[in-house]
Each structure stands twice: as structure tokens, then as C-alpha cells.
Symmetry: C2
Subunit: 364 residues, 2 copies
């Protein structure tokens, strides 16, 4: 194993700050190899030393705040890291498409990557191929557990199934904490449980911090479609993009063009009747409605949208903002392998990143 590993971090937002906390504790706990932070940046500022000497991890956020240095442009960051005197792991804690697009260049230079950034793995299939070809050619590692289900062992489990020769036949689940919270509140399984109108539940979820600043960024289904794209590709389907399969948007067509999230929320009550109808239809069958994604590997069908489930189904019985992912495989037969738990949040997302970092380091 390498004696010293250099860590370069892009992004110091919600996940980034949690990751730095975990990295600091990890470095203190594990004497070998030495983990040195050699570079950290936000979109505006950066901290680094030309000689790659270690930046104190715990004071990195405050050092960033007072730094006068701008972040290196991606080509010079690649050059800087490629010339480092020890193995390097780039930790991309952004959701930037620009950074994701540069992954093949980092990997080609032997720079390892760990990231929760979905963009790299759910964009064009060309980018997906470029990333994994570059990694295979140079031997650099690229791990992205937190790109689906945050710290839940979703990607690693799917890879283990595939790598050990199992045949995944179907993947199904609730992949969005926001959608989970919304439907667990709007259509609770307990008969007679109180539930507000759809628009009120969306407003409430936003107030509690469960949605993006503009809730349409959750309701359009794209976040779920991106996660499905990643899992489908890992299961062997060459999905072209997250818009290459049916994705049901929960934004009423008339509200697509609202100028702001606030305007959207104001007008959403006018459409409560539609969701009440969907809910009532499910109830008439003794079921509840949930927003799910599914991948049928044999028929190569991927889809995202509303479906009805028996009240006793594990998908119906979810709580809070939990995710649930069921893997149906040849070996597991009719009862799937199920992973369930919080699929969003700074600490659990950072945990997936830190876990990946540990796995990459063990191979350097």
C-alpha cells in the first residue's frame, strides 16, 4: 500500500463540509497511509500549496473563506495533480457537469476519483464509456456509491451481484427522499391517517427542507431518472441518457412555465383535483400511490412514475424520507435483496464518499 495519499477536493457545500469532517477524523484515526489534503476549492476560491504540502483539514473551510486564490481551471488542476509525488484521489463533491465532463482526463492521468456527482454517470452514454475506458487504461479507480441512495450500499451491492456472475432481472424502488416523504404523507398506508391536499404536502415538504429551493426540480422526476440511468448501465443496459425512457413529471403542464418556485407553489392548489383522483383510484383498489423507478433488464425497459402498491408492500410501508431499492436476481429468486434507509442528507452522502475513499486507498 502507498505510504502517503494526496487528496484534492472540489466543493465545500453541504456534502463537502460533512466530508471534510469525516476525512479529518479518518486521517487522525488511521496512521497509515498518511492522508494529505493538497488542494481544496469552491467555485470561487481555492487553497493549495505548490509543493503539495498538507493543508490542515479541520481548518480548511476557514482557510477557504479567507483565501485570495482562485480555483485552478480544470486543465491546470489536472496538470498539477498529475505531477504530484504520490497517488492522488480527487473528491468531487459538486454536482457540476463541467467537472464530470473532465473525469476522463483526470482518470487518463492516473488520478483516482470518488464522488457523489450523478452527472458523470447519468449524462450521455459516450461520457460513461469515456470514463470507464480511461480508468481501465490507466488503472485509476472511479467510485460513486453516493450517486444513488447516498450512503446506502446500492452501487456496491449491484456491482457485487454483477461481478460475481448473478443475473439481475429487475430493479425497483423509491429513489428520491423528497418523493418518498411527499407520498408517505399524502397517501399514508394507515387507514384513516390524516393527509393534506397535494399542494399543501408539497409546501410542507419545502418548509421542512425536503425539496430543492424550486420544488419542480424534484417533481419533474429527472433526479430519479438520473439514478435509474446509473443503475441500468451498471446492470448492463446501454441507456443513452436520463431522457431516453418514460419519465412522468408531476408538474402540471400549465405550471412548467412559472417564473419561480414561489409562483408554482401559489398556483399548484388549482391542480389538487388531479392528484386526489389518482389517490382515490388507488384507494378504490385497496392500494396506495407511490413515485417509483423500475428497470426490467430482460425487456430493457426503464421507467419512472406513479404506481399503485398494496398497503403491505415494502414500498408502500416506507417511512419518512427513506429510500428502498429491491434487486431481483436469478440467485435471489422471487424474494428480492432489499436495501432501505435514508437516501439523502449531508452526513450519509459524505459517508458514501468516505467509504469509497477508504476502498480506493486500500488499492493504491
Amino acid at each position: 500500500m502507498a505510504k502517503n495519499v494526496l487528496i484534492a477536493v472540489i466543493g465545500a457545500g453541504g456534502v463537502g463540509k460533512c466530508f471534510l469532517g469525516q476525512l479529518s477524523a479518518l486521517a487522525a484515526r488511521r496512521p497509515s497511509p498518511t492522508l494529505s489534503l493538497c488542494y481544496i476549492c469552491t467555485s470561487k476560491k481555492a487553497v493549495f500549496n505548490a509543493d503539495y504540502s498538507a493543508i490542515d483539514i479541520s481548518s480548511a473551510p476557514s482557510a477557504l473563506a479567507t483565501s485570495a486564490a482562485s480555483p485552478k481551471a480544470l486543465p491546470s488542476l489536472i496538470e498539477y495533480l498529475a505531477a504530484a509525488p504520490a497517488p492522488v484521489v480527487l473528491v468531487d463533491n459538486t454536482s457540476s457537469q463541467d467537472v464530470a465532463d473532465a473525469y476522463p482526463l483526470f482518470l487518463a492521468k492516473g488520478i483516482n476519483i470518488v464522488t457523489p456527482n450523478k452527472k458523470a454517470f447519468s449524462g450521455s452514454y459516450d461520457l460513461w464509456q469515456a470514463i470507464f475506458s480511461a480508468a481501465a487504461a490507466s488503472g485509476a479507480k472511479v467510485y460513486h456509491e453516493s450517486s444513488v441512495g447516498a450512503g446506502l450500499p446500492v452501487i456496491s451491492t449491484l456491482k457485487d451481484l454483477v461481478d460475481t456472475g448473478d443475473k439481475v432481472t429487475k430493479i425497483e424502488g423509491v429513489f428520491s427522499g423528497t418523493m418518498s416523504f411527499l407520498f408517505n404523507s399524502f397517501a399514508p398506508t394507515a387507514a384513516g391517517a390524516a393527509a393534506g391536499k397535494w399542494s399543501a404536502e408539497v409546501k410542507n415538504a419545502k418548509a421542512l427542507g425536503y425539496t430543492e429551493p424550486d420544488p419542480r426540480d424534484d417533481l419533474n422526476g429527472l433526479d430519479v431518472a438520473r439514478k435509474l440511468t446509473i443503475l441500468a448501465r451498471l446492470a448492463g443496459l446501454p441507456v443513452a441518457s436520463p431522457t431516453a425512457f418514460p419519465v412522468q413529471s408531476l408538474i402540471p403542464a400549465a405550471l412548467e412555465s412559472c417564473a419561480s418556485g414561489d409562483e408554482f407553489l401559489e398556483k399548484l392548489p388549482e391542480f389538487d383535483g388531479d392528484m386526489e383522483k389518482t389517490k382515490a383510484e388507488a384507494e378504490a383498489e385497496g392500494k396506495v400511490v407511490r413515485f417509483v423507478g423500475s428497470i426490467d433488464v430482460a425487456s430493457q425497459q426503464v421507467k419512472v412514475g406513479l404506481e399503485k402498491f398494496d398497503r403491505s408492500h415494502p414500498i408502500a410501508a416506507l417511512k419518512g424520507s427513506d429510500n428502498i431499492i429491491s434487486f431481483y436476481t436469478e440467485r435471489y429468486g422471487s424474494n428480492p435483496l432489499i436495501i432501505q434507509g435514508a437516501g439523502a442528507g449531508g452526513e450519509v452522502t459524505a459517508m458514501g464518499v468516505t467509504g469509497d475513499l477508504i476502498k480506493v486507498i486500500s488499492q493504491l
Copy 2:
């Protein structure tokens, strides 16, 4: 990464045969590193070449059947493998205490180990410490995913939680496929579902192959206690042995001394009243009874036995012979991280072993 890795296999029973099938496919699928089977044995026979040249994996079972060679004694096996010209992974597909007791000697010589054998990790705490000290000193790896929950990602998830700095507060679940099947049949969640007397369910489970040849080997709770011992130790509790905490046996005291499993099954109906009473008590509270294990990390309490659960609880809602393991941690808060699925069976157990082998190889 190493260019060639030597594999030595002990055991060619149910799990062992499935593992050989998976290894054969893996070796064919992955050109690098080359995976060479250099040694394979049962308790009676062995196949190996003095010069470590590769044994054909797919014909190994038939080669074993016709081999005239006896297995090497453990000290000479260690000597043979320690002198190998490439990194070695020992795959122990037995449940032998003798082999487990020799792990520290293998590891001290730099021989890596992957295994589903619970004995090594759930025996005395001295053996546990000797194993991990030897591995730390030599750098050899020891992986044992399938020692709990077969191929389910239980051990790897717990290690990730601990390694990334989360605090595990409680682990709870159904850890035995046999117990799961028995109680899902005997006390089904669906109100009014048909269920036989306890002794009839035990007989039925045996007829379907869900129990050991003598069902008392499942009903004594020791298998679950061994799994709990492993998880508790990984969570940081220095549990002395699987008999160092309360384990409820479902064998009536009067039947402990039956000469055979058949005699036990014949006399078990005399005690059906006890289990009916336990079941009725749970039903009076609107609950069902299940055989679970739990680890409370803060209070250092480990226990195995019958508990009552609401019908809507995930433990009550299990199906077939599935396992379920809930990790309560500081990061995951009140909703645990849950892993669920088949926790027994040749192919899924072998899958955990093959997955571990892949992870060890990536570090050689």
C-alpha cells in the same frame, strides 16, 4: 495489481461446489490477474501440483473424486502456500473449527483468507484478536461477508459504517433462515391465515430442507448467537463467546437429551401448548412473535430469543426464509439502514465468498 493470484480451496460441499462454479466463470471473464487454482481438498482427498501449476477449475470436483492424494495437514498446507511464487488466497468453505484455529498461522505467513466459516469469528475472543493481529502485522487480508446473512451485504455495510466514523447504536434482526421460515409460517401476519401447530411447522420445515438434519441444531439458537457475536465485535464490543450472553433455546428442556432428531420430532408435539401460549400472548397485544437477535451497543447488551412485534413492523412482515438486519446509527437517526433478503443457500453464500475474493484480489 498482481499478474497471477493462486487460489487454494478447502471444502467442496454445498457452498464449495457453488463457489467453484462462480470461480470458474470469474476466471474466464477476467483475463487479469490470472486466477489459478493450486490446491483443493475435502476432509478425505486433495488435488494439487507440487509446482503450483493450475488445476482446471471446472473439472476439480471430478478430479477430487478420483484423486488418491490425502489432504495436506494444516502445517504443511501453510508451508506449501507460504512458499508459493505468487500471492495466495485461501478459500475456506468449511465450517471447521480446526481450520479456523489455524487462520492466525496462515495470515502470519501473508496468506490471505476469504471464508463463510463462522467459527473463526464467533469462537473465543482470543482467536478473534489473534486473527486480526496477524493480518495487521503481515498485511494479509481476511474477509468473511458470508459469515452473517450469506451474500447479503451485512458485514461490509457494518464495516463501512464503523470505518467512516458513524456510531452504531443498535443492531436488530432475523438472522436465521430457518427461524424466519418457522415463525413466518407459525405466526403469519395476515389475520386469519392458516398455521399449523408448532411441532407440525418444525416437521414441515425439515421436510422442505430448511433445517439441519437434527432441527435442534437450529432451535438451540447457537447459530444466531454466533452471528450476533461477529456483528457485536465488529461494532466494537469485546464479546467473549457466543455463550457469553442470553440465548433462548426453543428446545424444551425435557427433549435436550433425546438420542436423535427423529426422537425429538416425535416428542415435540407434547410441548405445542407452550408455543401456542406464547403466540396467543402476542396476538392478545395485536402482535406476532419472532425469533430475533439484538445488540445494544451503548449498554453492551446482546441477546437472542423470542420477541413480539407489531404486524406492520418490517421484522413481522418478512417472507419465506428471508433475513432482515437493521442498523441503527447516529447518522441514520430513528429510521435504520435495513438489509433484507435470502440469508442462506449455496449460491448466495458462495456469492459472498466470490465477492470477497474479488475485493482481496484488487488489493494484491
